[in-house]
C-alpha cells in the first residue's frame, strides 16, 4: 500500500501537518519554479479567485502560490519526470486532494464535513464536481438542450456543469424521475439538487427531523396543527415521492389508493360495499376533494376544508 491512501488518512495527514507546523522551507520550490514548466496553468490560475487566497495563505493552509494546494513540491521541481507534486489531484489520491481544499474551506460549515461524507468515502474528489482553479470559469451560457435547461453557469460556484447535471451524471437512477408528469422543477434555475441535499455532509449529522427541509419552502404545511395528520407532521415522504411521480401531487400512488392503502373506509358516510350496489363517490374521487386540509387543520378534526 504505497500509492493509495484512504480519504480519512489524507485528511489526517494534511491536518496533522498543521499540528506539526510548517515544513522546512527547503521542501518548497516556490511558484516561480512551477511557472517555468507550466506557464499556461499559471496564467489561468492568476485569473482565478483562488490566486489571491493562495498568495496570502488562507487559514491553516501551508505553502504559498501553487504549493498552497499542491503541497511541498521541491522534489518534483528537481525531478519532474519521476517525482510528482505532493498533491497532484490525480485519481487514487482523492483524500489528499480533498484535504488540500478543505484546509482552507474549513470554516465554511456547509463544506467542512466533506471528508467524512459518503461522497468522500466513495472516493469522490472535490475536483470531480468543481472546476480546477486552473480553469477560468466560463461565463458563457452552457449550451445544452432547449426547454430552459441551458442555464448560465454560476460564476463563482466553480462547478463544471450546472449542478443538477452534475448530480444526475452519477445518480442516473433519478434522471427519469425528473421527467415524470409531476415533479419538482429541477433545472431551469428554479431548483437544484442542492436546494434539498447537501452533497458535502451526511444525513447522520442532520440534527433536525426529516420534514424540516420540506417546511423551509412549504411553510403552510408545517403547523403546528390543532388536528394533525401524523405522517404530515413527521415525514412527508410517507406519502410523497419528492423526485417525481406519475401521480398528481407527487404522491407515491394516486388517490384514493394512497389513502386506502393505510386507512379503512367507513361505510356510513363513504359507502363502500364493494362488489355490491352500495359503493359511493368516495371511491370515484380524490379523498382530498373533501379532506382538503389533509396536512393539518385548526378547525376540523376530519381535515375537511
Amino acid at each position: 500500500m504505497t500509492h493509495k491512501f484512504t480519504i480519512s488518512l489524507a485528511v489526517a495527514l494534511v491536518l496533522g501537518l498543521f499540528a506539526a507546523g510548517r515544513l522546512p522551507a527547503q521542501d518548497y520550490a516556490g511558484s516561480q519554479s512551477c511557472q517555468g514548466c507550466h506557464p499556461d496553468q499559471a496564467k489561468l490560475f492568476e485569473a482565478n479567485v483562488h490566486f489571491k487566497a493562495a498568495e496570502q495563505r488562507r487559514f491553516d493552509a501551508q505553502g504559498e502560490g501553487c504549493e498552497s494546494c499542491h503541497g511541498p513540491s521541491k522534489p518534483h521541481a528537481d525531478d519532474p519526470v519521476s517525482k510528482k507534486p505532493a498533491v497532484a489531484f490525480a485519481k487514487g489520491e482523492e483524500g489528499r486532494s480533498n484535504g488540500a481544499c478543505i484546509a482552507c474551506h474549513r470554516t465554511d460549515d456547509k463544506v467542512n464535513g466533506y471528508s467524512r461524507s459518503r461522497h468522500a468515502q466513495s472516493r469522490v474528489a472535490c475536483v470531480d464536481c468543481h472546476a480546477s482553479p486552473h480553469s477560468k470559469v466560463s461565463l458563457l451560457p452552457a449550451r445544452t438542450a432547449f426547454r430552459n435547461e441551458d442555464a448560465p453557469l454560476r460564476v463563482v460556484r466553480h462547478l463544471k456543469t450546472p449542478s443538477a447535471d452534475l448530480c444526475l451524471s452519477c445518480h442516473t437512477d433519478l434522471r427519469g424521475r425528473f421527467r415524470m408528469p409531476y415533479r419538482h422543477p429541477l433545472g431551469g434555475q428554479a431548483l437544484a439538487c442542492v436546494s434539498c441535499h447537501n452533497p458535502h455532509q451526511d444525513e447522520t449529522r442532520q440534527a433536525r427531523q426529516a420534514n424540516a427541509k420540506c417546511f423551509s419552502c412549504h411553510e403552510d404545511k408545517r403547523g403546528p396543527w390543532a388536528y394533525e395528520h401524523p405522517p404530515a407532521t413527521e415525514d412527508c415522504a410517507s406519502c410523497h415521492e419528492p423526485h417525481g411521480s406519475v401521480a398528481p401531487g407527487m404522491l407515491k400512488t394516486a388517490q384514493p389508493f394512497q389513502c386506502l392503502s393505510c386507512h379503512s373506509i367507513a361505510e356510513d358516510r363513504h359507502g363502500a360495499e364493494v362488489g355490491g350496489a352500495r359503493f359511493s363517490r368516495a371511491l370515484f374521487s380524490r379523498c382530498t376533494a373533501c379532506h382538503g386540509a389533509i396536512h393539518g387543520s385548526h378547525e376540523d378534526r376530519h381535515f375537511k376544508k
Partner: protein
C-alpha cells in the same frame, strides 16, 4: 405584472448599455487577455401556442396572457445577465447575476467582496403568478368559485399570487489570511424577508388545477370555494460564528429566529357559505395559518485527537410558539408551543492507512407543550373536541445508534454499516380499536427498525466507474403500516467511457421490496388484516458518442415501475359506534404505476459558426388501481404520454456574440383526464453576448 416585466427588461438593457467599452475591447482579444470585467448577457424571448392543461402548465406557467388563440405573446424566459468584476491579480470584487427562468420571475444576486475575508450577498427573488388565466374552462352547469368570488368582491383585481424574497448575508473572516490559530474565525449575519400575497390554495410548478376548479361531472353543491386570501410575511434572521481554540479544534455556533405573520383571510369558506349555503355545508372550516415564532440555537464541535481520531459533537434546541385566533369564533384563541431537541456525536477513527471506522449516536425529541382540554366558552386550549379523529402526537423521541467501516483497496472501496433506531411516541389519544369507526389506520407508539447495508464502488480506471449498494431492514415494531417491517433494497450503476471521455455508456438498476403485514384493524366484533407490499423497479441506460469534435449524440432510457399490493378494508359502522365490523372488502387490492422515459439529443457542428441541437423525448406514464371487485373510475387512473421534439441552432456571429434559435413541439395525450391533453409549439430566438 406588465410593469414588473418592463422594469426587468429596462434594468437589463441599462446595465448592458453601461458596460465599459474597454472591457469589451479587451474581450475581443480572446481569453488569453484577462479583463477585470467579464460577463455575459442573454436575451431569449419566446413565442408559443398551446392547447390543453398540460401545454398550459409546461409553458412555464406564463399565466398573465389571454393567449388561448395562438402565437400572440412575447415573453422573456431564460434571459440572463452576469457581470464579474475582478481585482487586479484575479481576486473577486463584485458579481452581479440576473436570471429569468420563468415568466415574471426575476432572480437577482449581488455579491461584493469589500476586502479579503469580507463579503456581502444580497439576493432578490420576485415571482408573480396569475390565477384567472390558469383556470381551464369549466364544464356546463359548473363554475369556478375562485373566479366568481373574486369577481363579486374585487372585480378590478385579478386572482394572483406573488412571492417576493429578499435575503442579505454578510460574512467576515478576520483571520482569513493569517496563519496559525485565531479564536474568531468567521462571523456571519443573515436576514431574510419572504413575502407571499395573493390567494391560496395553490400548487407550485407542474401541479394540477383541480383545486381551483369545480370538477367536471361532479355535483357543484358538494364543492367549496378555496380562495382564501393570502398575506404572509416571514422574517428570518441569524448570527453564526466559527471559533477555533487550537489547530485541532473548530466550533460552530449559530442562533436563529423566525417570525411568521399571517393576516386573517378575507375570503373564506364562510363567505362562500353566506352567499350560497348549498355550496358550503361546513362554513367554519377555514384552513388558515396562525402567526408563529421560532427561535433556537445550535452548536457543533469538531475536535481531533492526534492524527487518527476525530470527534464531532453537536446540539440543537428549537422552539416554536404559535398564537392562534379563529376569526369565526369569538375569543377562540389558544397558545401552542413545540420544542425540539437534538444532540449527536460522531467518532471517526483511522484504523490503518486503508481502513476507517465511524460510530455515531443521536437523540432527538419533539414535544408539543400546548395546553389541551375542553372549555364551555371560548377556546383557551388547543382543542375543544375530545372526540378526535386523529392521533395527536404529544411527544416523539428517537435514539439512533450506528456505525460503518470503510476499507479501501486498489481501485475499489468496500463499505458496510448498521443503523438502529428506537423510536417512541406519546399520543394524546390512543389508537387501535377506537380508531376503527372513523376509518383510521392503526398507529403504533413504538418503532425499532434496524438497517444493515453494504456498498462497494470502484474506479479501477479513469474511464470506468461502478457502484453497488444493498440494504436490508428489519423491524420488530413500526409506527404505521407504510413504515415497512422488512425491506430489501439493491442499487447498482456502472459507467464506461473512452479514454477521451467523448464516448461512453452507463447503466443503472434499482430494486426495492418492502412489506408490512403486522397491522390489523379490529373491534369487538371483528378483525381485518392490513397489508403493505411494495415492489419498486428502476432500470436505466444512457450513452453518448462523439464522431470527431463536431458531432455528438446522447441518449437515455429509463423504466420505473411500482407494484403495490394492499388489503381494502371497509368498516360497517352503525350509529351505535362501538358496534362496528371491520371487514376485508377486497384482498389483492393493488396499484401499479409505471413510467418509461426516452430522451435523445445531438450536437451537430455543421459549420465553424453553426451548431444544430436536435432533441427528442418521450415519457409514457401510467398507473392506477388494479382490482377485480372494486368499481373504478377514470379519475383514479393515470394514462398520459408526452412526446416532445425540438431543434435548436447556435450561430456564432463573432467571438463574443452567439445567436440562438429554438423550436419545440410537444404533444400531451391523456386518456384518463382529457382536459390535460393538448399540444405546445414553442419558438424562441435571441442572442448571448460575452464581454
Amino acid at each position: 405584472m406588465k410593469t414588473e416585466r418592463s422594469r426587468s427588461r429596462l434594468t437589463v438593457a441599462a446595465i448592458l448599455a453601461a458596460l465599459p467599452a474597454a472591457a469589451q475591447q479587451q474581450a475581443a482579444a480572446g481569453t488569453a487577455t484577462l479583463s477585470p470585467v467579464s460577463g455575459y448577457v442573454r436575451v431569449l424571448p419566446r413565442l408559443y401556442k398551446f392547447s390543453g392543461d398540460q401545454g398550459y402548465l409546461q409553458r412555464y406557467r406564463a399565466l398573465d396572457a389571454p393567449n388561448k388563440a395562438g402565437i400572440d405573446r412575447f415573453l422573456e424566459t431564460a434571459n440572463g445577465l452576469g457581470i464579474f468584476v475582478a481585482r487586479s491579480g484575479g481576486g473577486p470584487l463584485l458579481e452581479l447575476q440576473h436570471v429569468n427562468p420563468f415568466p415574471l420571475n426575476d432572480q437577482w444576486l449581488l455579491r461584493y467582496w469589500a476586502a479579503a475575508g469580507v463579503r456581502f450577498d444580497v439576493q432578490w427573488n420576485d415571482y408573480q403568478r396569475g390565477f384567472d388565466r390558469y383556470l381551464p374552462p369549466t364544464a356546463p352547469s359548473t363554475f369556478t368559485y375562485a373566479k366568481q368570488f373574486n369577481d363579486d368582491s374585487a372585480r378590478d383585481d385579478f386572482l394572483r399570487r406573488r412571492r417576493s424574497d429578499f435575503r442579505a448575508v454578510s460574512r467576515w473572516e478576520p483571520s482569513a489570511f493569517k496563519s496559525g490559530p485565531r479564536v474568531l474565525r468567521s462571523v456571519e449575519l443573515e436576514f431574510e424577508r419572504a413575502r407571499r400575497i395573493g390567494y391560496r390554495q395553490f400548487n407550485w410548478m407542474f401541479g394540477i388545477p383541480e383545486d381551483l376548479v369545480v370538477p367536471v361531472g361532479t355535483d357543484p353543491a358538494r364543492w367549496r370555494g378555496r380562495t382564501e386570501d393570502l398575506s404572509q410575511t416571514v422574517h428570518r434572521y441569524g448570527i453564526a460564528s466559527t471559533l477555533s481554540f487550537a489547530k485541532s479544534n473548530l466550533i460552530r455556533l449559530r442562533f436563529f429566529g423566525e417570525q411568521f405573520d399571517m393576516r386573517p383571510a378575507s375570503f373564506t369558506n364562510a363567505d362562500v357559505a353566506r352567499r350560497d349555503p348549498r355550496v358550503n355545508t361546513q362554513p367554519r372550516t377555514i384552513n388558515f395559518i396562525p402567526d408563529n415564532r421560532i427561535f433556537g440555537g445550535e452548536v457543533s464541535i469538531e475536535q481531533k485527537f492526534g492524527s487518527r481520531v476525530t470527534l464531532l459533537v453537536d446540539g440543537l434546541l428549537e422552539e416554536l410558539k404559535q398564537a392562534s385566533f379563529a376569526p369565526l369564533q369569538t375569543a377562540s384563541g389558544y397558545h401552542s408551543t413545540i420544542r425540539s431537541w437534538s444532540t449527536g456525536a460522531n467518532l471517526f477513527v483511522d484504523l490503518t492507512e486503508a481502513a476507517w471506522l465511524e460510530a455515531f449516536t443521536r437523540w432527538r425529541q419533539r414535544k408539543n407543550l400546548s395546553q389541551i382540554g375542553q372549555a364551555a366558552a371560548g377556546r383557551p386550549y388547543l382543542m375543544t373536541d375530545r372526540n378526535l379523529s386523529t392521533p395527536f402526537v404529544r411527544e416523539r423521541a428517537e435514539t439512533i445508534l450506528g456505525g460503518s467501516l470503510t476499507h479501501s483497496i486498489k481501485g475499489a472501496t468496500l463499505r458496510a454499516g448498521v443503523r438502529h433506531e428506537r423510536g417512541k411516541r406519546d399520543f394524546l389519544r390512543g389508537t387501535g380499536e377506537n380508531a376503527v369507526p372513523e376509518g383510521l389506520t392503526v398507529y403504533h407508539p413504538r418503532s425499532t427498525p434496524t438497517d444493515l447495508w453494504v456498498s462497494v464502488s470502484g474506479r479501477p480506471k479513469k474511464q470506468l466507474r461502478w457502484a453497488a449498494r444493498t440494504e436490508f431492514r428489519t423491524a420488530g415494531e413500526t409506527y404505521a403500516l407504510n413504515d415497512p417491517e422488512r425491506r430489501i433494497r439493491v442499487r447498482g450503476s456502472a459507467t464506461l467511457a473512452s479514454k477521451s471521455g467523448n464516448t461512453g455508456a452507463s447503466v443503472s438498476f434499482g430494486f426495492t421490496d418492502e412489506r408490512n403485514d403486522q397491522f390489523a384493524l379490529q373491534s369487538r366484533l371483528g378483525k381485518s388484516p392490513q397489508l403493505w407490499d411494495v415492489r419498486d423497479y428502476s432500470t436505466g441506460v444512457q450513452g453518448w458518442f462523439s464522431a470527431g469534435s463536431r458531432v455528438q449524440f446522447q441518449g437515455a432510457f429509463q423504466h420505473l415501475l411500482r407494484d403495490h399490493a394492499a388489503n381494502f378494508v371497509a368498516t360497517d359502522v352503525r350509529r351505535w359506534r362501538p358496534f362496528v365490523v371491520p371487514s376485508l372488502a377486497e384482498e389483492g387490492f393493488g396499484y401499479e404505476g409505471s413510467a418509461k422515459v426516452l430522451s435523445l439529443g445531438a450536437s451537430l457542428a455543421v459549420h465553424d459558426r453553426l451548431t444544430l441541437l436536435p432533441n427528442y423525448s418521450l415519457a409514457i406514464a401510467g398507473g392506477g388501481i388494479v382490482s377485480a371487485k372494486t368499481p373504478l373510475r377514470g379519475y383514479s387512473l393515470i394514462d398520459n404520454d408526452h412526446n416532445s421534439v425540438g431543434i435548436g441552432a447556435d450561430c456564432k456571429v463573432s467571438e463574443q456574440v452567439l445567436f440562438h434559435l429554438r423550436y419545440e413541439y410537444s404533444r400531451y395525450n391523456d386518456q384518463a383526464t382529457p382536459l390535460l391533453a393538448g399540444r405546445l409549439h414553442g419558438v424562441s430566438f435571441g442572442l448571448s453576448r460575452v464581454f
